[in-house]
């Protein structure tokens, strides 16, 4: 039900975006900027939805099952604890995927409507002003690159991957935490640190380049490996800019996300397998 509320808010944002007056030939840069703003707002909403849902839903799973005693009736069936954890985790991922898919459909429809509207307005004007066919084709390609295409879907995939990592971290923390609030806050900390890891590495590299190495820096260097690098996974930034992504980069990001998820799930299982409920 809460997912539904989020989708309604998202749909309202998308409809609101359609009210914006998009450019003409003389405002070619403005048109692209408008599309960037539209995608930026949409991806911001998606990231907030995905992060809130992944953290809140997963952090509450085990404590709620213990409180409601549904955990007893499940674990006394021939179900391994790993099966239980995986079932719960992939249930959250399925809900997340459905929510993001709905948002993706809404965003794609809004972008398609906007881009086609821009083209319908700008192409006749360009032809009337005597632009060459080559320039007109280039304009079409540029605008469509900002529209609903493969790039957009990859951006949504990136949002999903980050949320999947966050959900796995929240699950891992909830296996030993005695407080849901602690799980929520600790996962938020992991998210914030994960967003800053890239900058931190840059600073550390700069210090190292200037020969200012210290024990604290080398410890920080290794600690940085413990946190997922969410900046690295933020492929949607390129999507917002209308840039095409390399397949190799996408695969690498998928592998990094899979690695983080696997580590978190293995740790969760290790802690939960002997946990007394």
């Amino acid at each position: 039900m809460k997912v539904f509320y989020f989708l309604v808010v998202f749909a309202a944002i998308m409809l609101g975006m359609l009210w914006v007056d998009f450019g003409s030939v003389g405002k070619a840069q403005d048109s692209e900027q408008s599309l960037r703003v539209m995608k930026g707002a949409a991806f911001f909403s998606m990231n907030v939805f995905a992060a809130v849902f992944a953290i809140a839903a997963t952090a509450l799973l085990i404590p709620k099952d213990v409180e409601d005693r549904t955990l007893y009736t499940i674990l006394c069936k021939p179900v391994t604890r790993l099966d239980y954890l995986l079932g719960r985790y992939f249930g959250v991922l399925a809900m997340l995927a459905i929510g993001l898919l709905c948002m993706d459909v809404l965003l794609s429809a809004a972008l398609w409507h906007t881009v086609e509207g821009m083209l319908a307005e700008q192409l006749p004007a360009m032809q009337a002003l005597g632009f060459s066919q080559e320039l007109i084709d280039e304009r079409v390609t540029t605008l469509r690159q900002h529209g609903a295409g493969v790039g957009l879907q990859l951006g949504v995939l990136a949002v999903f991957l980050k949320a999947a990592v966050l959900a796995a971290v929240a699950l891992c923390l909830s296996t030993f935490s005695t407080s849901t609030l602690f799980t929520l806050l600790a996962t938020l900390v992991v998210m914030v640190v994960g967003l800053m890891v890239d900058e931190a590495r840059g600073v550390m590299a700069e210090y190292a380049a200037h020969g200012r190495e210290s024990r604290v820096l080398s410890v920080a260097h290794w600690v940085a490996y413990l946190f997922p690098d969410f900046k690295l996974m933020s492929l949607e930034d390129a999507t917002i800019q209308g840039r095409m992504l390399e397949l190799g980069l996408i695969l690498r990001v998928c592998l990094v996300a899979a690695l983080h998820v696997s580590i978190a799930l293995v740790l969760s299982w290790f802690i939960f397998r002997k946990k007394e409920v």
């Binding site: 007893y72 009736t73 674990l75 006394c76 069936k77 021939p78 179900v79 391994t80 007394e276 409920v277």
Partner: protein
């Protein structure tokens, strides 16, 4: 590992459970070296006051807790292993389920956890709904169920995979006297089908009615255990129920007993229990259906 004695379904030997308090790391001993066995087809009742260690023992038997010492075995398997739970059904005290699910969906969910699929699952779910008399409420969400109905759906999920061992924690908690009697009859019928039952209950009269053997646990220790007959028998005392005699006839009977060398310990007009009055009234209103 094979069972020491082949017909033992449950074997608990020297089971000890300690809990550590979070702050002071003080140890609380919940169960102190408890040992017991339950044979195949037996109905065993574990009774004791609150906090005596009944639920801890049940949880250990279901693999939800690890013994601090000793061992718990079910069908010869270590109770903490999944293999031990294939033939075990469990009804917790005051069971809670996913409230957004209907009764049918709940049973399908638990059936799938036990590996049931397709037509076999559907047939089994319907059979269980009929057994616990919830067929009419099969499509209703559990959020609208009464406590008694939740207890019945709990019993149905415990029986979904046709287990050979049924573990019941306060099976009649919150259930009205008719429902309580139905559960008692169901336990007896399961016993007739060879199902082993291990139950904890505060309703000692009911435990006495359905159990073959009883264990009394107090402060984590098994104080006494044995067959109901051996524990509840009152030596050479005999209870005689007589009808159709007036006061003079009763006095004659008393004299005759004394002449025979016996003694009359108690003689009073028999009264019906409130429970039997309630059950008769409700059964009549239902048109003779019921227990």
């Amino acid at each position: 590992m094979a069972l020491a004695s082949s017909n033992m379904v449950v074997e608990i030997r020297g089971f000890r459970k300690e809990f550590k308090s979070a702050l002071l790391r003080k140890r609380l001993v919940a169960v102190k070296g408890l040992s017991m066995e339950i044979a195949e087809g037996e109905v065993y009742g574990l009774i004791g006051p609150n906090g005596a260690g009944k639920s801890t023992t049940m949880k250990a038997l279901l693999g939800l807790l690890q013994p601090s010492a000793g061992e718990c075995r079910v069908f010869g398997h270590d109770a903490s292993k999944v293999d031990a739970r294939h033939q075990v059904g469990y009804l917790p005290e005051n069971p809670y389920f996913f409230k957004h699910q209907t009764a049918r969906e709940t049973l399908e969910f638990y059936g799938k956890l036990c590996g049931l699929r397709g037509g076999g699952l559907k047939a089994r779910v319907q059979e269980m709904l009929d057994l616990v008399r919830l067929a009419d409420a099969a499509e209703r969400r559990l959020s609208g169920f009464s406590k008694g109905m939740l207890q019945r759906i709990g019993l149905a999920q415990a029986l979904i995979q046709d287990p050979k061992l049924l573990v019941l924690d306060e099976p009649t908690a919150g259930v009205d006297p008719i429902g309580s009697r139905e559960i008692r009859d169901l336990i007896l019928s399961l016993k007739g089908r060879g199902v082993t039952v291990f139950l904890c209950s505060h309703l000692l009269e009911q435990v006495q009615e359905v159990c073959d053997r009883v264990g009394v646990i107090y402060e984590g220790e098994m104080v006494v255990q044995g067959s109901v007959d051996s524990l509840c028998g009152a030596g050479d005392e005999v209870q005689l129920s007589v009808g159709g005699l007036d006061d003079a006839g009763l006095q004659s009977l008393r004299r005759w007993i004394v002449e025979q060398g016996g003694s009359v310990e108690a003689m009073a007009r028999r009264e019906r229990s409130l429970e039997s009055v309630f059950i008769d009234v409700v059964t009549q209103r239902k048109g003779g259906h019921g227990v």
